[in-house]
Symmetry: C2
Subunit: 511 residues, 2 copies
């Protein structure tokens, strides 16, 4: 099982799951039951009708269990799945699925006959409440169907936060009724770079796309049915060249600019004025209308040079307060700590242990996502055949060795959890995302649900790969990229760890 549960006790015999197996559904669990039927029915032909004529799977709540925790008992005669809440039952159902053959992850049956589940008792609960993944749909747009598939993959690994990076210099994907040009103009760029920016190679091919309000509602509802919260991010006030391309008055000093075609930090961002603040508030109003979750990402990172820190702090503080007026909490990158962050802000600490400690020490809730441990755009080995090798080497084992608690040992209560970050400059589509994200995300999932450091992780990962294959995930093979997963056309820019570490030190010295 992956992530590994807290306690697993194997029993004797097997439960036989077949077309006659029934499902008994406790109060408040209709949603989980519908999801389970929708997954196992098409895959196994087990439709789990309420009036099953055979043995039964019973779902129920048990308030004695911890939130998101569950107790799964499989015997020859039946399966009982109790959860501390509906999320707990859902996570238990994902564990149950891992006790079935990998084919249970397919969308139509590939074999006949009953499925056997070994008798077992599993007690489980998560280590962290924020078990996330950031997906950058700005650098490369991801069509909705692929986003929904990605949510399924997160949920299968018991992750519960999809941080959706919806806007950046290279594209604006979030629909704003009041400012339609944000997507019409800001939603596409004339071309993209091929490989890392140092090589300045371009493809001459437009790229774009955006979501509609109904698309967002569907993504949010689809995720909610899988106990995944979507945390949207509108990156402000930096990383806004796409917005300036749509509405040049946001930064009149720059003259007309297009949506950024190159990677890397843009020198163009919105001015920090009352007018642009009103614009940002309008945008966030529409964000709050479409995303019901408590947390709203506002970026706050990497502003263009030349903007005084005091102005930036004032601007960001106003955004945080505006969100508070909506009853929401702002989520921002750790740059927000520069000069002191507004109270109540949740910090995505991406620049190492120092900022994590600083954020926790200053009383902020923190989501740990240090680039050296969780940036899934970083290369997976030293091999030059890795597709678009950028950043430092980050292997599956490196991700697995990551311990969020070690980053702020004096303030463990401030660590909400961790997330991996999928920046998509070099992932033009879902196939490339699959290669970069899996199986490293599996390691992160165990870190945040269970904790790393289990000697049997590699064995369990080997058992897990057929599940990924059944889900159609084109993960990176242990031996390196398959021939067609290479990108000789797209040169990278590998970094050495020491080099990056000293750069991070310099960047965060002032915090």
């Amino acid at each position: 099982m992956l992530p590994v549960p807290r306690s697993v006790t194997w029993g004797a015999g097997e439960f036989e799951l077949d077309a006659a197996t029934g499902l008994s559904v406790g109060e408040g669990l209709d949603g989980v039951a519908h999801w389970l039927r929708g997954e196992l029915g098409p895959a196994l032909g087990c439709w789990l009708s309420p009036a099953g004529t055979g043995r039964t799977i019973a779902l129920a709540l048990d308030p004695g269990l911890p939130p998101s925790g569950y107790l799964l008992v499989v015997t020859r005669d039946g399966i009982t799945l109790l959860g501390g809440d509906p999320a707990g039952v859902f996570h238990g159902a994902q564990t149950l699925r891992q006790l079935l053959p990998p084919a249970s992850y397919r969308r139509a049956p590939v074999a006949d006959g009953p499925c056997r589940v070994p008798a077992v008792t599993v007690r489980d609960a998560p280590r962290y409440r924020w078990r996330g993944c950031m997906l950058d749909v700005a650098r490369h747009f991801m069509p909705r169907a692929d986003v929904l598939r990605f949510i399924d993959l997160l949920a299968a690994h018991k992750l519960n936060v999809l941080h959706l990076h919806l806007t950046d210099d290279q594209g604006w994907r979030f629909p704003v009724e009041r400012y339609p040009l944000l997507t019409e103009v800001g939603g596409w760029r004339a071309e993209s770079m091929v490989g890392s920016r140092q090589h300045a190679r371009t493809d001459g091919r437009p790229h774009g796309g955006h979501y509609t309000a109904d698309d967002i509602r569907e993504i949010v509802a689809y995720a909610a049915a899988r106990f995944v919260t979507v945390v949207p991010e509108i990156d402000l006030p930096g990383h806004t060249q796409a917005a300036v391309a749509a509405y040049p008055w946001l930064a009149p000093g720059h003259g007309p600019v297009g949506v950024r075609t190159g990677w890397g930090l843009s020198p163009v961002g919105i001015d920090l004025t009352e007018e642009t603040l009103a614009f940002c508030r309008d945008v966030l109003d529409e964000v709050c209308a479409l995303f019901p979750g408590e947390y709203i990402g506002i970026g706050g990172d990497e502003c263009p040079p030349g903007q005084p820190l005091a102005d930036r702090r004032r601007f960001v503080r106003a955004l945080v307060e505006h969100l508070a007026g909506h009853g929401r909490r702002a989520y921002a990158w750790d740059e927000i700590l520069e000069g002191g962050a507004p109270r109540g802000v949740i910090v995505a600490a991406w620049r190492g242990p120092g900022v994590t400690r600083a954020a926790a020490g200053a009383g902020h809730d923190v989501v740990a996502c240090p680039d050296l441990s969780t940036y899934l755009d970083y290369r997976q080995s030293e091999h030059p055949d890795e597709p678009v090798p950028v950043g430092t080497v980050l292997t599956v084992d490196d991700v697995y060795a990551f311990d969020p608690a070690a980053l702020a040992p004096d303030h463990p209560e401030r660590i909400l959890g961790a997330q991996c970050n999928v920046w998509t400059e070099h992932m033009p589509g879902t196939r490339a995302v699959d290669y970069m994200v899996f199986p490293r995300l599996c390691a992160l999932a165990e870190v945040v649900w269970s904790a790393g450091g289990r000697a049997d992780f590699r064995d369990r990962l080997a058992e897990h790969l057929p599940r990924l294959a059944a889900m159609g995930v084109e993960y990176r093979p242990e031996s390196g990229p398959l021939p067609w997963q290479r990108r000789p056309d797209a040169p990278g820019w590998p970094r050495a760890r020491a080099d990056r570490e000293s750069e991070l030190d310099a960047l965060t010295r002032g915090i």
Copy 2:
């Protein structure tokens, strides 16, 4: 409704579909019921339990109705859906869905409250029994999840054949246990052309992928649950450079060759010997083991020059007989008519009315797919912004004007139906496929299910586009490509209709 039903009589009032609506399932219809629940439940929150406490949707068979036909009666008090067979009930359920708001095509609810279905009586049955689409997964591999989505899109349009072009010079996607190098070596190429072959531009980027046996089983079963038959095609003996790359002994005279990177006809194909025939039989044995359908595609088209016609005819005849030994019928492109085709072969007539008449006149069952009316890689307008404009102009209206019956007026009984063909040289992924296939496929669907020539087609298509959008289809807007749907980097090669017609005449003169 699209395709338009045979008869539609509107009634008074509306049926209200909500969480309490029940589903009564007649014998033999469990599969359709599961599918309907799986579609409407997540989209609308209507889970259609057998023991619904509200009004009911009743599914049943009525042997008095024609095969694949249905009678759908919606009143204020209930919905009755009768089918001549389970396929008929399924098609009726697709019609029912078109009576619901477009949001019923989403995968999670985007609005609250009940859904209303207007009272109506619909009587319907298909015009043709072969309502198909060929998808070329050889020129560009399509990941399994996207194939399943494509099957859903076919089924939503009441198409019932997915002709899967699994092998070609540029890639071999079908797993053959006995010859694993077919996919290992033949399943990827070193790079691809960008734009049409006349420009000889290449991208330096490997491309590949293939299906596993379980992937094929899943695709077949998924399609079957939607009453879509998958007709596999292994293109033989021409279009086999990828096979020769994997097993050079198939054409020793050519020396070692790689998988073809350029578009266009390869000069390399397997030799026509007893040894290569045995190889082809082995491959077809595995095809027959994985695809249970009656029809197996063997290509038979565009052999490399220099192979004597008599040899080719003998070779193809042996393949046809081998399939007959498996109880299957061979399906082949109309080149098989050259010199006379073996009895019982079904002909995919792609080179115009002449070959269609010739095939039907010679007693062959024919699937009409004339390139000038059904090749969805052909450009959709005269505008130079059309992405990779190749072939002749083929608009939605042109597809809609296509009448398979007019191609062989003396032998209408020989026309099994028609299909559109999606050659993917210039469609590197699903987003590009969406643009080229929709909404032209909608027009083809009405041609084969109903018949073209309805004055209200355009109005119904306008009502249909929001359904496509809800399904996440990035169809071509009536006004032309969105900015990011253009491909200025990939020059095309537009043809004039007269030019292509005279070429077709020359090609088919001997038949």
